[in-house]
Symmetry: C2
Subunit: 317 residues, 2 copies
């Protein structure tokens, strides 16, 4: 099953269910994805029974599948990325053997084609292509095996980052606030079953194709996550209940052979340049730049649809 949220002027939009070919949709039996995830089993049974999809799907009229969430916890589960970023930021993090995770703002996820207003080009505007999952209610203290069953939907995310602020905030030990504006989501939230054998061991084993201003920038695969999403969920729930609709992110998708497959964020490419050439060559994004992100299965399907958006100058409220 694949779900999308149609913009309808309301804060949370109108949930729709996609036809098998993705060209049409039907209004869901509940109004919002938040309502669906709070009563998932009932919702899923009703949604799966729908077999008429009367409306043409209009990609430009879609919000994020979950336009706001009660919680967004983002990991950094790809080791090849983490090690390089630490080097770039001059950080020597404590090695704990546990996932890295921070809590980011979740009251707003941009839709897949929304313009992204940023206050200042000098802040080091960067994209971060990643995967995420949406869970139903997860009790505190759950183990990773049991957490797997709470992963109801998989999503694709652009975790916008402001690199000039990231290093200084990280060094405070308090994590990121200013360095992490609102994220974007690709249009379709999909059940794990929809991904077939590209969903393995709590990982989205698909290439994430990232294009910056129309030029291929990366095609890293989600398989080499150091922790599966079920382990990230268990980590997040160690001392808290996770409310239904909590979004858990993988962190930037990255592969050890990043020199061949490319990167899912500019900071990683700059890190490679620093290691290989002594200094970064690639600048961060400018106003007007576009980024496109689309995950592809081995047989060429793109179940999440595409993020395709432009950074613009914030003009004030």
């Amino acid at each position: 099953m694949r779900l999308a949220t149609r913009k309808d002027g309301s804060r949370d939009g109108q949930l729709v269910i996609l036809s098998p070919d993705g060209g049409h949709c039907a209004p869901a039996p509940v109004r919002t994805l938040q309502e669906a995830i709070e009563h998932w089993d009932v919702f899923a049974a009703e949604a799966l029974a729908i077999d008429a999809f009367p409306d043409a799907l209009k990609p430009d009229a879609l919000a994020a599948p979950l336009p706001r969430a009660w919680q967004w916890l983002d990991g950094s589960a790809f080791e090849s990325h983490g090690a390089l970023m630490d080097k770039v930021l001059g950080i020597t993090p404590e090695k704990t053997g546990r996932p890295l995770m921070y809590q980011g703002l979740s009251d707003r996820f941009y839709g897949p084609t929304d313009d992204i207003p940023m206050p200042d080009e000098a802040l080091g505007i960067d994209f971060e292509g990643e995967y995420g999952v949406i869970v139903d209610n997860v009790p505190m203290g759950i183990d990773a095996d049991a957490a797997m069953a709470h992963i109801r939907l998989v999503v694709q995310i652009n975790d916008w980052s402001l690199r000039a602020l990231a290093g200084p905030e990280m060094k405070t030990g308090f994590g990121w606030v200013q360095a992490k504006p609102a994220c974007s989501m690709a249009p379709f939230a999909v059940t794990p079953g929809e991904l077939g054998d590209q969903w393995r061991d709590g990982r989205v084993c698909m290439d994430l194709l990232v294009d910056w201003n129309g030029v291929r920038f990366g095609a890293a695969n989600g398989a080499p996550m150091g922790f599966g999403f079920h382990e990230l969920v268990a980590h997040a729930a160690r001392t808290r209940h996770l409310p239904a609709g909590t979004v858990i992110g993988s962190g930037t998708v990255s592969n050890p052979d990043f020199r061949e497959v490319g990167s899912s964020c500019i900071a990683e490419r700059r890190g490679i340049e620093i290691v290989d050439e002594g200094a970064p060559r690639t600048a961060f994004m400018c106003f007007g730049d576009r980024v496109r992100m689309e995950a592809r299965t081995e047989d060429g399907r793109t179940p999440f649809g595409a993020i395709d958006q432009r950074v613009i100058a914030y003009q004030g409220a």
Copy 2:
């Protein structure tokens, strides 16, 4: 004006307005504090016109005034506390001249007399007495002066902390997830005007009386905040819009003469012991322990009411 939320079986409770003497209340013209803060001017005008308070106020039946929020950003604005905690944790944070702030879980604030289930005494269970503000919609990029007008309510918070997890998480640079379970709120959210001249320069200039198992532990005053709340709001909003209902915290209330006035968390007292005696003497909380927190004006009023609650063993979902 003082507001409380009555438990009524729903997730967000029923907002009520207190009588001037605090003994009675009237149902608010909207159902929840979230609705009130989203349309504050309209709400405040209607609420101020209420002059009949038919219901006796039952303190045990109160939830947090805002039982869940879209965002909780907690500062660490008391320098005497920060410097000591860094020493205890073995952290040498970068000095930036800007407020320290992290994002914590906000889908649940415990009510003032709720039992607090914690998974393990060995995690270093600690209270943190602090003040907070609730803002209406704040546009990205606002300056501190303009931010002051968005502070609609002031609250008193217990930011529960698990110290055995705090240091290791801080050293990752990602901030706290497991070390920061849900917080508690004192029963009454009050308008800044209600505090009179105890609200000065964006600071709650009141003693925060903290009692641990019936013994006075601290009575630090909120005046020496290194940044006012308006400055914390502006810091938080630099690269994001703050949704109405965002809660911004001061961090543990602490005074430079903490050896005389005491502390608002156990970690600070342990820090003093480490500095003065070479090792901590005071243990963290045990299951069954109680903590009481109540802020007092110079003339003896307690506008926020009291947090008075007990830590219990989490028994599983």
